[in-house]
């Protein structure tokens, strides 16, 4: 049911779509590696590498795990923990990361 909706919404679908997504993933992987090997400021490098990682994750989750075609509740289920973890990490910054 999920996939049928997807087929309507996107021009390519099924195996072709899976393949296209994979091409993107590999491309992003190599972009990340490229950023890693090129001598640019560490902060910028980390930022770019993780940006690529986030895009990869979003692609996998939305297409391979077809969250793109799912009920809003599953979005909530997937995002709530991410938000919580981010909040916890931020709350812990002063104690653990920048401890006296």
């Amino acid at each position: 049911m999920a996939n049928s909706m997807q087929e309507k919404s996107t021009p390519i679908a099924g195996a072709a779509l899976d393949l296209r997504i994979w091409e993107w993933l590999v491309g992003l992987l190599f972009i990340g590696l490229l950023v890693f090997v090129t001598p640019i400021p560490k902060v910028a490098a980390i930022g770019l590498v993780f940006a690529a990682a986030v895009v990869k994750a979003v692609l996998v989750v939305r297409k391979y795990m077809h969250l793109a075609a799912e009920h809003w509740l599953l979005y909530v289920l997937a995002l709530t923990p991410v938000v919580l973890i981010a909040g916890m990490a931020i709350a812990l910054l002063p104690d653990i990361a920048f401890r006296p």
């Binding site: 099924g14 490098a45 980390i46």
Partner: protein, 204 residues
């Protein structure tokens, strides 16, 4: 909010809440994955926080084999592709579906095993250099994070293998077609975890 209930309408249209239309197993898997995100997310945040506290651990991080890690990432991404192809073929209702499904699942299993094999070699290389889990916080985190992830990969391989065996029996193919979606969700999640672990451990 529910409108004034005309009982029969309610009975027919499931009270207008669409949530019960989500297949129970899919809902359960996503709930399970949510808790998994908290586990891995928690560990990763601990790693990042202590890493900041210790000024980056660049010296230690220089010792991990990022090329091997990159190769493993490629392996896992590809296994995600074969898994996705297996799920896609499971949805189509034409001849040879079962065969294609088994082929793709087989590839996924082999790629998963490759990942574990490569990881094992990597571990042995690091052990050889004396970088054991007790050799400092960075290595403790390295082994905890990648080890826990590898255990998840192993679980995924076992799950996929049971489906692969079941798919050989014509009478079980429908069951496999139904259940492979859930195995796929789990496998892709394990892939997503690695997508973040790789830069976190190898590229920073």
């Amino acid at each position: 909010m529910e409108a004034a209930p005309n009982i029969e309408a309610v009975v027919q249209f499931g009270d207008g809440d669409s949530i019960r239309e989500i297949p129970a197993a899919r809902l359960a898997i996503w709930l399970f994955l949510a808790s998994e995100i908290m586990v891995f997310g928690g560990l990763m945040s601990c790693f990042m926080l202590l890493r900041i506290a210790h000024g980056g651990w660049d010296a230690e991080a220089a010792h991990v084999h990022w090329r091997i890690g990159a190769f493993n990432t490629l392996v896992l991404l590809t296994s995600s592709l074969t898994m996705a192809l297996a799920c896609t073929s499971a949805k189509e209702r034409k001849r040879g579906t079962a065969r294609r499904l088994r082929t793709y699942l087989g590839f996924t299993i082999v790629l998963g095993l490759t990942f574990l094999g490569v990881k094992a070699c990597e571990y042995s290389l690091e052990f050889a250099k004396g970088f054991t889990p007790g050799a400092g916080l960075f290595w403790a985190f390295y082994y905890t994070l990648t080890g826990l992830h590898s255990l998840h990969v192993l679980a995924g391989i076992i799950l996929n293998t049971t489906l692969w065996i079941a798919a050989a029996r014509a009478d079980l193919v429908p069951v496999v077609q139904r259940r492979i979606e859930y195995a796929g969700l789990y496998w892709h999640f394990v892939d997503v975890v690695w997508i973040f672990l790789f830069p976190l451990v190898y590229l920073t």
